[in-house]
């Protein structure tokens, strides 16, 4: 039986291999990817002001956008026993992919190299 922890693990693996096309959404803290009829939406949820705990949620959506399953994780220095620890790095990887962070950092490094060579 497939479980959300398997989905998280597979998504993390495919994202690391650059095989998932994560896209930005109108919500700056949420990123989406589509696989056939189904989609996934990963988001960092609002936390209480001045709290050092962040909450993450991965939703699996059916073809009409209804949430058919989800996984959550809370992360912070005071949080112990995180159920799905790889959800947090998955969020970071999804964000980096959607925003093209690696490509842009490379561009920046190239520009800086040109400045230092001139």
């Amino acid at each position: 039986m497939a479980e959300m922890k398997d989905v998280v693990a597979k998504l993390a693996e495919l994202t690391e291999q650059g095989q998932v096309r994560w896209k930005t959404t109108v919500d700056k803290s949420a990123f989406a990817a589509t696989f056939g009829k189904l989609s996934v939406l990963i988001s960092a949820m609002d936390t209480r002001p001045l709290s050092d705990i962040a909450s993450y949620r991965l939703s699996v959506l059916d073809e009409q956008g209804n949430e058919i399953d989800f996984a959550t994780a809370r992360w912070g220095p005071s949080v112990t026993g995180v159920k799905l620890p790889n959800l947090v790095p998955l969020y970071d990887s999804a964000k980096r992919t959607a925003l093209g962070v690696d490509r842009r950092l490379e561009e920046l490094l190239n520009e800086m190299n040109q400045v230092s060579n001139s």
Partner: protein, 167 residues
Amino acid sequence: MDFLIANWGSFIGVLGLAASIGGLVYAFLARRAAKSAEQAASEARHAITRRLSLVDVQRAVALIDRLKDVHYQRNWDYALGLYAELRMTLSEIGTSIPENFDQYRSLIRSAIPQVIALENLVRRSRYENEDREPENISSLDETLSEIQENLETLQSSMMYTDETVSS
């Protein structure tokens, strides 16, 4: 007459051969007619599917226009209902889109989580932040415009195909 009686077997043979050839020609023509009918039925089926999808595409475009108005009017509760309707319509299009427009299928399907993100943002602002308005309303419209642009491209392709097929 004597000639007929003497060669009746050959005549029967010739008649049999003619009947066989006639049968073959008849079978060939019947098969060709059946194939043409099948092709016509398939084309009609495709045309109906295309028209139905086109109606859904036009409905989705109109829904997006309506949503932009509703955003402008700040009628967020009504907008939440329209987002759900838009998702359903996009889902219909994603399922019923004809095979020759496959390149649009993934574009339409990837719009659904975008609408969900929009919906979540508005819902959070309304219900978790004491009826506050979502921040940066123009970005909501930008997301809708991107979806609308893809739908309009699909719509023109489908209409162009319809014209080509019917002419």
